[in-house]
């Protein structure tokens, strides 16, 4: 058995590290786009020019060199909107994950650390959360309260904490029984100190992996909600909203939905590749 493992380990590691690097490059590029969007955009992403509606991108005939990826149905530069959309996706992905991480890690660590009744309550909360249809409830909240970025982030944050809770709970349970935690108890450390200095640092790597996967999920969900018209409010160029707005023109000019879709797909794939790579690197378990 061990011989087989050694034989397989070589090429697999090489392939794994390549895919991790691809993921890292995609995420790095997305972060640069997100942070430096105002400097990178060639045109104002909100400026309309009705004389230049639906200009085709560079690989088609009759393209306008001023608009590399063409223009949308209102004559706004598609490349600029794409870069600005990356900023929105990343912003929402990261903030949602911060909110859901705070909730999920707190709940999960408490359940795993204290066990007993508290853990029963935590398990019940996780079960209840999983039974709630996320897209439907998020749509209902935004539909009833109105579209805004803050509301969207809070809603998704309140809905997506389950994986954080599951992983934080199971890893805390494992760490809780290790010798160094017992040593900390014997040394007279307070509960808070044991939790913050002994348990949390030792489960952090697992949580980082969950966080990357959750960012990807939040970005996909934001795009879905924006596509359904109950996410990021227009005229902000969310990729999901760009696809929704371009939908009426897709049968004649398919590129209008291909461009933002490819961007969304690539970003989510890149984050997942990076997350998978980190999981192998840390030897973390994130199965739920």
């Amino acid at each position: 058995m061990s011989a087989a493992v050694t034989v397989n380990a070589g090429p697999k590691r090489g392939w794994k590290s390549l895919s991790t690097w691809i993921g890292a490059v995609i995420v790095g590029a997305a972060m640069i786009c997100a942070i430096a969007a105002p400097l990178l955009v060639p045109h104002d992403p909100f400026a309309q020019d009705l004389a230049k509606r639906l200009q085709v991108p560079f690989w088609m005939e009759g393209t306008d060199p001023a608009h590399l990826l063409g223009t949308d149905q209102l004559g706004r530069d598609y490349l600029s909107r794409l870069i600005w959309g990356c900023r929105i996706s990343m912003l929402i992905g990261v903030t949602v994950t911060v909110v859901s991480g705070l909730i999920g890690i707190t709940i999960g660590v408490l359940g795993g650390f204290f066990g007993g009744r508290i853990d029963d309550a935590v398990l019940f909360a996780i079960t209840t959360r999983l039974s709630i249809p996320v897209v439907l409830v998020a749509l209902a909240v935004v539909g009833l309260l109105g579209t805004s970025m803050t509301l969207l982030v809070l809603t998704l944050g309140l809905l997506l904490w389950d994986r954080f809770a599951v992983v934080a709970r199971s890893t805390t349970m494992q760490v809780r029984n290790l010798d160094f935690v017992a040593a900390a108890w014997c040394a007279g450390c307070s509960r808070f100190r044991v939790l913050s200095r002994e348990v949390l640092p030792n489960i952090a790597s697992h949580l980082v992996v969950v966080a990357t996967l959750e960012i990807a999920l939040a970005i996909l969900l934001e795009a879905t909600l924006s596509f359904l018209g109950l996410g990021v409010p227009p005229p902000l160029p969310s990729w999901g909203l760009m696809i929704a707005e371009a939908k009426d023109y897709m049968f004649f000019s398919p590129w209008v939905i291909v461009i933002p879709g490819v961007a969304l797909f690539t970003l989510v794939l890149g984050i997942n590749l990076l997350g998978d790579g980190l999981r192998d690197l840390f030897g973390a378990r994130t199965d739920t």
Partner: protein, 304 residues
Amino acid sequence: MLSFLTRRLIVALLVATTVMTLAFVLTRLSGDLATSIAGANATQADIEVIRKAYGLDRPVLTQFFDWVGRALTGDLGNSYFFQTRVSTLIAERMPVTLTLGITGLLIALFVSIPLGILAAVREGTGFDRAVQMVALLGQAMPSFWLGLLLMITFGLQLGWLPISGTGSWENFVMPGVVLAFSAIPALTRLTRAGMIQAMGSDYIRTARAKGLSRASILLKHALRNAAIPVVAIAAVQLGFMLGGSIVIEQVFALHGVGFLAWESIAKNDFPVVQAVVLVLAVIYVALTMVADLMNAVLDPRLRV
């Protein structure tokens, strides 16, 4: 076994009650419902009439217990917009959503089980990596976008399939494929992991030692054991798929429960919204219970 069953049932009931409360709170979030139903141009008198007509002038707790009490007897109230009973509306739309969900699940199983087995048998080879890559790609694919791409390709350019409506079985092919995409990565990974674990176990070594054929070892001995978690997760996935079908129903204009919910959200028809949330949650809870039971029946070690 009996105590296992009762405990599962109690938890399921508690979850359903909690979801009921949450669904009720959810629709009261916007503050004054009567105002939002009446619309922007309504006068104060109109709002008062609506408040009275829908029983919104009663204390919130009375409204809540009234709703819970009726829901327990299967009465989910009346829709504000359609002027019919919500339970009738949901019952009318449910076949479309169920057809879609089951089609999606069948496609997903049909793709992921063979892929998972082949990847496990050729663990570490190029094929295995390709399968894992496909799983990653599937995970990153936005379902609404995939739906639109399929519509352009197979609906418009090739003209093979209808792009909207629910007239025939052909209408469910593209939505089913799109929905299947959301379950294929998890099911493939699970089949692969289960098969790899099973193939490394003692009973497979015994089967090999007995001189059984490779096909018989794989399909009779290994797959049966690897299939237990896959079948259980498939039930849970179906629950997720029914909840997630709202997006696909909207893209392909399938008038199922998800579409109903989407319309109702836009129209502030809150009895429908809270009922759909409740019904989907109850279906999910029931499916997870079925999954747990299947696990327990097939694997006695889990009956804790």
